[in-house]
């Protein structure tokens, strides 16, 4: 495996499957009475979040702690960046404290990649703008892989805010790499223009979910939408939300996913999010397990 994880393209198909297999072992460890292993003892993981995050940061922090690494937290709002220190100087200060793995989230695309040039250890991209969020892609694909045994040939329907999602790029990249068929379904104003030609697009939700083994919702990114993109949320929900009546006639073993946080009644209805098909909470556990597997694969002597 490469030294850094910036986008899914840093990983070969075999490396992804290897992370899945190892992730399964780490998931078992999370069921033990003492959920801690000494593997990263003496290593330090720096969590650099230049943008608010709850679940991704908690997940990385707990993954590191479960492996006995020390963690230090850096958040932009309480840092010297407020005193006009540049990112580079901030990183060099941390580097002097001997950090082994940096987990970086930043609102601007490219910052994690830039940091790889300054430091000696490894960098994991925890989301850079709308560019990439590879560990979310890995945990989503892991969830599908674990449920169905393989990702190849599966039909995956993705609904919700495609345009402003950073998850979607990493998801599309990893699912295509593993041989899945993807269909996007959302309002035309929420479709970006960069989508891979192998991905199908429809505005008809019944058509999108008809053969789907996986139905995935993406959060309406209200904070990134700068103009009136949809008439209103209720109308969006009527036409493009994941609703019982739209997916009622589906076969028995499909799963419903969502990277969270979910907006009930907008991109997904509450009864679907709580149904037996929903794996939304399991995705959180899988996120912890796969991040542990990624730490294991990346850490250097």
């Amino acid at each position: 495996m490469k030294k850094h994880l910036i986008t899914i393209s840093d990983l070969s198909k075999n490396e992804i499957i290897e992370i899945f297999k190892q992730g399964k072992v780490f998931k078992d460890i999370l069921q033990r009475p003492i959920k801690k292993i000494p593997t990263l003892r003496g290593k330090t993981v720096g969590l650099l979040f230049f943008e608010p995050s709850t679940r991704t940061k908690l997940s990385f922090e707990l993954a590191a702690k479960r492996m006995s690494a020390d963690t230090i937290n850096f958040s932009a709002s309480t840092s010297s960046l407020k005193k006009n220190e540049s990112i580079k100087d901030t990183i060099m200060t941390l580097e002097a404290m001997k950090i082994d793995i940096y987990v970086v989230r930043h609102p601007s695309p490219g910052v994690p990649a830039m940091i790889t040039k300054i430091i000696k250890g490894s960098v994991i991209n925890a989301g850079d703008g709308a560019h990439a969020h590879p560990t979310q892609g890995i945990l989503d694909a892991y969830t599908v892989w674990e449920k169905f045994g393989d990702v190849k040939g599966l039909h995956i329907a993705i609904l919700g805010d495609v345009k402003y999602s950073r998850v979607i790029r990493s998801d599309i990249e990893i699912f295509l790499k593993l041989g899945a068929h993807l269909t996007l379904c959302t309002a035309k104003t929420l479709m970006p223009n960069w989508i891979d030609p192998k991905v199908k697009y429809t505005t008809n939700i019944e058509k999108a979910v008809k053969d789907a083994d996986v139905i995935m919702g993406l959060r309406m990114q209200k904070e990134r939408q700068d103009s009136a993109i949809i008439p209103d949320e209720i109308e969006f929900n009527t036409f493009f939300g994941i609703k019982n009546i739209k997916i009622a006639n589906k076969k028995n073993n499909y799963i419903v996913m969502h990277p969270g946080p979910i907006n009930r009644g907008i991109e997904i209805d509450g009864d679907i999010a709580d149904s037996k098909h929903s794996v939304i909470n399991e995705q959180v556990t899988n996120g912890l397990a796969t991040r542990m597997a990624i730490f294991y694969a990346l850490f250097q002597g």
Binding site: K24, I34, I37, Y296, G301
Partner: protein, 181 residues
Amino acid sequence: MKAKNKIMEKIDIMRSLKRIAHEIVEFNKGTDSLIILGIRRRGVPLGKLINEEIKKTEGKSAPFGILDITLYRDDLSTLGEKPKVNSTEINFDINDKNIVLIDDVLYTGRTIRSAIDEIMDFGRPASVQVAVLIDRGHRELPIFANYIGRTIPTKKSEIIKVMTEETDGKWEVWIYEKLDK
């Protein structure tokens, strides 16, 4: 690596395992609080055979589990290529039980140290004992085996290879000489 000597045939291995099984139940007074744990990889087939022998003499076998000690190794950060992690399978309570760890070769003692650390993350056993097919000496930690198939004095430049049907297609023990690079 050059093969020097075959030191055990299948029949020798089976005799040793049979004796070890008897010693285990003798010392632990039956199988009531006994647990057998095989250390991946070659401790697993050895442990299974010992447990079968225990069943023959006692009428019932002990709960059998598998330990993968990779994540507990003390040399992970010095290895270039990270070893793959396999699952540890302990699907029963180990508190207040007598655990017998099974491995093929006892050498530096570091594997057993890792295994003991891992076991402690599952609970507090009454005792931990060690059974190995070969004890070749050169301990780097204060660790000993309670049950030993055969003690073989070796040079550090030698390698002891225990072959099992599950992992190598046959039961044999060989001694190899490391060749100078």
